[in-house]
Every structure is written in C-alpha cells, then in structure tokens.
Amino acid sequence: MNYQPHWDIIYQYRHLLLDGLLATVHLVLAALPISVLLGLFVAAGRSFLRGRWSMLSKLCEAYVEFFRNIPPIVQFFFWNFAVGLGAFPAALVALSVSSSAYIAEIIRAGIASIPKAQGEAARSSGLSEWQTIFHVILPQAMIRVIPPLSIEFINIIKNSSVAMTIGFAELTFQTQEIEARSFRGFEAATAVTVLYVLLSSVVVILMHAAERAVRLDIRKG
C-alpha cells in the first residue's frame, strides 16, 4: 500500500463540508419534532383506543408495520419522484414518517410498561380518562423511553444520509462531491465519518443530560 493521503484536501473543501454539516443538522432538527409528534400520536392511538375505537387502534398498528418494513431509500424516492416534492421536503417527509414508525413502537412499549393499577388508581380517585393519560401515564412513559429514543435519534441522523440519493446536498452528498472534484474520496470519507460520530456523540450527551435532569426533577417532587 503506497498511498499518500492528502489531508489538506479537508481544509481546501471546508466550505463544502460545512454546508453539508449544516444541511444534515437542518434536516435532522426539522425531522426530529415531526417524527416524535407523529410517533406519540400513533402510539397513543394504539394504546388508548382499544375499546370503542378499535378500528383506529388497528390503523395505527398498520401504520407502524407498514413504514417499518419498507427501506428508507424507497420512501425517499417515492416522495421525491412519485409525489413530486422537492429534495428537502421529500427528505423531510420520508425521514419523519419512517422514523415515526420506530418511535411509535418505542413509546407504545413505554406506555405498556406502566402498571395497569396506576391508571385504575387514577380513575378511581376521580381523574377523567384524559387526565389519567396526560398527568399519570404519559409523563412516566416518556421518562422511561428516553434511552431507547436516543438510539432512535441517532438513527435519524444516520438515515438522513439517504437524502443524498435524491440530490439533497447533506454531508454524505459532499463526500461524493469532493471525490468527484479531487479524486480524494478516502480523505473526504474520513472527515465526514468523524463529523457523523461527533453529531451522534452530541445526541448521546444531550439525552444523558435530559434523563438526569428529569430524574432529579422527580426526586425533588
């Protein structure tokens, strides 16, 4: 192996890398709240609409199974080429919808982990069904799902790279761009890999802090 790496390529194309990083962060930050909200709705629908609205509950279950079992790249292409959305909106919809299915499953498991007796106790002490859900069950469930959610948030960062296939100029796209301009794909890939690890580390640190903060909050009462 007699390959001479040219690391100065990273400095030379720093603007491309920075643009890509900002685009990835932009896409992830936009997709994050949408996927959590969608996931929360679907999980709540699956968990709390058992009796009268069992049709809706079944529909929520179908939503999860459907979007979890189709590769993200197919969803990106569908919204971009079939529906005709632009690169960013298509990436946003595809990323949010595909992640929301996983998030819904995580939150559903969190809700299921809260003992039934808690809901019954809340109901019998006079809380309405809505109050029980919003003040007793969901707050506890949301704390329990923080660790698995942080893994899913990292997955959102990772899956955002699929947006390059529909021409959205995020980090992975810039790897190819630098390779095309300088034939230095190896150095570019190294730099981008390091950036992804940094991004994911930020998520891990923030979610740890969030979990600590919420737990302390509970202990204080």
Binding site: N69, V74, F78, I157, K158, T165, A189, T193
Partner: protein
C-alpha cells in the same frame, strides 16, 4: 395506474431481486461469523481485547450505512491497488456495519446463559473453548434467534443502499425501469410492496419464534 410495464420486464426485476437475496444471505452469513468473533472479543477476560472492541462497535454504530459502503468502495482499491467490484464492496460494507449490531445480539444471548451452567461445565473439566461451543453457544443461540431474525430484516432493507455504488439489485433494477417508462407511482408502490411482503413475513416469523422459544420463567 398501469403496472403492465413491470409485468413485461419481470425477468429483469427478478434478476435484481435475486441479487438482493444473494447479497442479503451472503452478508448475513458474514455478519454471523464476524459478529460472533466480535462478541467473544467483547466478553473476553482480557481488558486489552474487550475495550477496543467495545469502542469499535460503538463508533461503527454512529456512522450511516451509506458512509460505510462508500468507505469500502474508496478504501479497498487503495489497499489492494486494484479497482474493486461494486458487489464485493457493498457486501463488505454491509458485513462491517451490521456485524456490530449482530455482535451485540450475540453478546446479550451469551450473557443470558445462567452463570451456574458455565461454572458447572468448567468445574466438570471442560476447557473454556469446549464450554463455549458445547454449553454456552447452543443455549445462547436459542435465546437470541428472535433478535437475529429482526436484524436480518434490517439487513435485508439495508441491501437497497448498495444502489449508491451502482450494484443492480432490486431497487436499482426498478429505478432503471422507471427511467425508461417514467411511471414513478407504479414503480415505487410496487417496490415498496415487494420489500414489505418480504420484510413483514420475515418479522412475523421472528415474532412466532419469540413466542415459541422463550423459556418459561425467563421473562
């Protein structure tokens, strides 16, 4: 909606699908081998093996699969000094990426084997290797089978990403057809349904195994 162009190009699509299936099967076998090796390193009694393996697994799980595939596509030619076959690069990328997930599944499976069993085997004279092969791994396999099936579904969906380095698997085959027929709705709905049919039925098998294999009392 007119799906006839798909029917008339069925041969081409089936060829793509067979590439997907071969790629998924080969990389899953590779993942099992590399994953078992990583899991054993991770559980090794020596810290100098355990620690770097853990770091490698954690780092690999922070990088997108597309990046890993690009890595092998760019890096293997440098290493070997020859241009690389895209299929091989894709296979290597899939194995490198998914073997870290499978290593964690295998590690959890091994750790689910009761300590007492291991101690009994060791104290009745079995060597570490003997005990691993004949006591720990058979029980661990049973416990981790449902999770392994789920990882296979993820791997199967992941094969669609070798599209980026130009391997004509099922997704690229369908995309190529769409470029000639200009029927994106039909194409991508069909592709989605085919992937769904495969992944959903495999994950049903996983759910069935979970109910069948879970030892009573283990829950």
């Amino acid at each position: 909606m007119d799906f006839s162009f798909l029917a008339s190009n069925m041969r081409y699509l089936l060829e793509g699908l067979s590439v997907t299936l071969v790629l998924a099967t080969l990389s899953f076998v590779g993942c099992l081998a590399v994953g078992t090796f990583l899991a054993l390193l991770r559980l090794s009694p020596w810290r100098c093996l355990r620690w770097p393996t853990g770091l490698y697994i954690d780092l690999m799980r922070m990088v997108p699969l597309i990046m890993v595939i690009f890595w092998f596509f760019f890096f293997l030619p440098i290493l070997t000094g020859r241009p690389i076959n895209a299929f091989i690069a894709g296979l290597a990328g899939l194995v490198a990426f998914h073997s870290t997930y499978i290593a964690e599944v295998i590690r959890a499976g091994i750790q689910s084997v009761p300590r007492g069993l291991v101690e009994a085997a060791r104290s009745s004279g079995m060597s570490y290797r003997h005990c691993m092969w004949h006591v720990v791994l058979p029980i661990a396999t049973r416990n981790m089978l449902p999770a392994l099936v789920n990882r296979f579904v993820a791997l199967f969906m992941g094969t669609s990403l070798v599209y980026v380095i130009g391997v004509t698997e099922f997704f690229r085959a369908a995309t190529n057809l769409n470029m000639r027929a200009f029927r994106p709705y039909e194409t991508y709905i069909f592709v989605a349904l085919v992937y769904f049919a495969f992944c959903y039925s495999i994950s049903r098998v996983g759910a069935l195994l979970e109910r069948r294999l879970t030892l009573t009392g283990a829950r």
